[in-house]
Each structure stands twice: as C-alpha cells, then as structure tokens.
C-alpha cells in the first residue's frame, strides 16, 4: 500500500485524505434516501456506491498509513537531523 500512496506523502496529506474519505462516506449516507426510496434512479445509486467504496478505501488506507507511520516527516527537529545538527552547532 505504500506504493499506492506513493513515497512523498506527508502526515497532513494522509489526514486530508482521511477527511475526504469521511466526507465521501457522508455523501453516500446522505444519498441513501434516494437509493432506497420508491423513486430509485440508477445514476444516484451508482454515485452513492462509488462514493461509499472510494470513501471507505480512502479512510482505511489513510488510517493504515497514519498508524504505520508511512509518511515523510517534514519536522526540522527530526531524529535523523538532530545528530548532524548537534554536531554543527557544537
């Protein structure tokens, strides 16, 4: 899944994808009335299905990326930097 998200994602990118995924799920939920109602339209059913699947995928993989820390840290005080910086400052 690392490849799916690419290598250059930041934590904020993953968080935003999580928010987008959540919003797509919300939209799919909002469309439920038209999907299960008496006047069912194929376009709305399809859209709701696409939003639900895409939202779910985005949420799951973004959350997984965040939990597994599969993102680049742009923190200037990162662990790797501290050693070299410390050396320079000394």
């Amino acid at each position: 899944m690392g490849k799916f998200f690419g290598r250059q994602v930041t934590q904020v990118t993953l968080l935003l994808r999580l928010v987008c995924g959540g919003y797509l799920l919300y939209l799919a939920w909002e469309l439920r009335g038209a999907v299960f109602g008496p006047e069912r339209q194929l376009g709305i059913v399809l859209a709701a299905a696409v939003f639900a699947v895409a939202g779910l995928l985005l949420c799951v993989f973004s959350l997984r990326g965040l939990i597994r820390r599969e993102y680049e840290t742009s923190d200037p005080e990162g662990e790797e930097d501290q050693g070299s910086d410390g050396g320079k400052e000394d």
Binding site: G6, Q8, V9, T10, L27, E30, S74
Partner: protein
C-alpha cells in the same frame, strides 16, 4: 562566440505551463457548461455580481489558507473564527452601541489574537497545526455561542453592511429614456486599464527573459493567453457595469489578493514560506527562522478570518452563531482546486482565487439550474473524488 551562445539561448522558446493555466480553462468550461444548462441565467449581470458577493469571504479565506497550505498544513478553525469575529462586531454594535469602524477593528483584533494563539502553539510548542486548529474550531464555535448567547444579533447599521453590499458611484452610459439599461463608464475604464496592465506585464516579462538569456514563451501562446484573460475580465466588468457598478467588496478582495500576490511572489517572506513547504529541514539549515514563519502564517490567517467575519456579518446584516459553518472546507478546497499541493511548497494566490471562483460558479450554477439536493451532492462528491484522484496519481508519479 559568447554572443552567439547567448543569442541561441535567448531565442529558445518554451510552451506555456498548462498546469498553471489549466484551472482558468476549467473555470471557463464550468461557466459555459452552466450557461448551457441554465439557459444563460448565469450570464445575467445580477448573477455575475452575486458570484463576487457570495464568494468574497471564501476568496479572502482561501488567500490566507494558501499560505498555510504552502507550509504543508491547513487551518481547520477558520469557519469558527470567522463566526466569532462577526459575533464580536455584531455584539459591540447592537448591545454596546460601538461605532462601526471600532467594531471592525475589534473584529480584526480578535481574529489576529486567534491566529497568534494558533501560531504560538504551532511554532513555539511544536504541536501539529491539525490538532491546534481543530481545537480552535471547537473553541471558536463555543465562544461564538457564548458571545451571542445563541441568538442572532442584528440588524447591523448601514455603514457596517456597506462593506458587503455597497457599490462605487456609477456614471451610466447609454441609459434608455425610461432610466433603464446603460453601462457604467467606471467599470469599462477599469477593464481597459487591467487589459493594458496584462499586456504590459507580458511584454515586460519577455523583455526581462530576453535580457537574461532565458527561454521565452511562444508569442502566439502569450497572445492567446492575453486574449482569454482580457476576455474574462472584460466580460466580468461589462456585466458589473450593466448592474450596479463595482462592488466595494470587489475592491476589498482585489486589495487583499494584490497584497498577498505581491508578498508571495516578490518578497523574502513569501520565498521563505515556499521554501518551508518544499523542504522544512533545508529551509531551516539555510537560515530561515521556521518558527517565526509558522507563527506569522497562522497569525495572518487569523487576521484574514477577522476580515472575512466582517464581510460575512455585513452581508447577512447580522451576526449568527451558525455563520461560517464549513468555510474551512471551502477555503481548503479552493486552494487544492487552484493547484496547491497537499505536501506544501506548490500553489499560487491567483490559483486559489480561481479555485474559489470555480466553486462559487458551481454552487450558483447548480442553484440556478434547479438541481435537486441529491444531484448537488453528487456533483460535489465527483469534484472531491476528482481532486483526490489527481493528488493520488501525482504522488504515484513522483514516488
């Protein structure tokens, strides 16, 4: 020999960046599609005027949000801060009889305080902006309810709402005998001045590129670009001229956009923000005070929230506790639609403004077309899905 080399390089031609101008074409496409769907309703002067009136505060917020996005972060609290700033101004005017200018200053001060609060936690305590701004989102909304005591404060006086509803004086040409019709001369003059500036700007950039031996864009491409841009602004000002002239809000928005465009493209501070978004570590090692940049980016966002709060409450002629709901998403979406990257370091003020206009035209177009709420949700979801797909694909290419 040296002269020959310089001449060869100077004559090299490159194509216009479609990434940069693709959004303008998308804006035209969306507008034309809705012109067909609505039977030309969105071409009416009043609708064109409403595009700026209904999206002025989104543009102001998108400008501030772009700076946050450039650093690789976002501000989730803008909607609540906008509501709180409007609430402060509304309460001061209605309950305490404070004059409008003083209430506006108070609103700006509250916005700046909120921004400084976020900036302090982000820069000094190094708490992720996502968390801090989530906190201001909740705090701001709560504070807004407390200030307004869950009530709507209004009506606000005429000199306050003038900011969002006022127009410059007009000099109408071609008015019919019954007093209808005609076009505002000032609008036409402004359109002409902008057209001249657009052409002069391109002539200057080509001259500078040639002088420095840099490749220049094909002349025909520059001409097409200028014709399109001048066409858009000419159409826009002509329609405004057919309505009530230039709105005060448009001047306010133009000043904000102009200032921040200048800051991001011509100043050291702007370069530092881009550098931070590109690579924070490299920026810090090259001497940029990243803490200071973070602080000012968020303090500035707060100040612009104060301005947006004034504009919003002036448009509604009242301060309401639910104002600004979801504005953070509109501002963030405007930046990303306008070509900003989620990883930071990429994006322009003009791009964010174009993004805000695309969203505004979509919203107004769907309302005019009489789309039911389900179809509106599908369109919004499709736009979001498209943006996420573009983001994912661009990351895969880079990866």
């Amino acid at each position: 020999m040296e002269n020959t080399t310089v001449k060869t390089v100077a004559q090299k031609k490159v194509n216009l960046s479609m990434k940069q101008y693709g959004m303008v074409l998308a804006l035209i496409a969306v507008y034309l599609i809705f012109a067909v769907i609505t039977g030309g309703k969105n071409l009416a002067p009043m609708t064109v005027n409403n595009i700026i009136m209904q999206n002025g505060y989104v543009i102001i917020l998108a400008v501030g949000m772009l700076l946050c996005v450039l650093t690789g972060n976002v501000d989730l609290g803008v909607g609540s801060v906008v509501a709180t700033c409007g609430a402060v101004a509304g309460t001061l005017i209605v309950d305490f009889g404070v004059s409008s200018p003083l209430a506006m200053l108070a609103s700006l001060a509250v916005g700046a305080l909120f921004g400084a609060f976020v900036g302090f936690f982000v820069s000094k305590l190094e708490i992720p902006p996502f968390i801090v701004t989530l906190a201001t989102m909740l705090m701001g909304r709560g504070l807004c309810y407390v200030i307004l005591q869950a009530q709507t404060k209004g009506p606000l006086p005429a000199d306050y709402i003038w900011v969002s509803t006022g127009f410059l004086p007009t000099i109408k040409l071609g008015v019919a005998a019954d007093g209808t019709g005609g076009v505002d001369l000032i609008c036409l003059l402004v359109a002409a001045v902008i057209a001249v500036l657009v052409v002069l700007s391109d002539v200057r950039s080509v001259a500078v590129a040639k002088k420095n031996g840099l490749p220049t864009v094909h002349t025909w491409q520059l001409a097409v670009k200028d014709i399109i841009i001048i066409g858009i602004e000419g159409f826009f000002f002509y329609k405004l001229g057919k309505y009530n002239g230039i709105p005060i809000l448009l001047i306010l928005v133009a000043i904000v956009v102009g200032i921040y465009h200048f800051i991001t493209t011509q100043t050291v501070a702007g370069r530092q923000i881009y550098a931070m978004g590109g690579n924070a570590k490299a920026a810090r090692l090259s001497g940029i005070n990243t803490q200071k940049v973070f602080f000012w980016v968020y303090a500035n966002m707060g100040l612009l929230c104060g301005l947006a709060g004034i504009v919003l409450s002036a448009r509604n002629a009242s301060a309401t506790p639910k104002a600004g709901d979801g504005f953070e998403m509109d501002a963030i979406a405007s930046c990303y639609i306008g070509g900003a990257a989620t990883s930071g370091g990429v994006g322009t003020i003009i791009g964010a403004v174009v993004g805000a206009f695309i969203m505004g035209i979509l919203n107004i177009g769907m309302s005019l077309a009489g789309f039911d709420t389900n179809v509106q949700k599908i369109v919004k979801g499709a736009v979001l899905l498209g943006a996420v797909t573009v983001d994912l694909l661009s990351k895969r290419k880079k990866g």
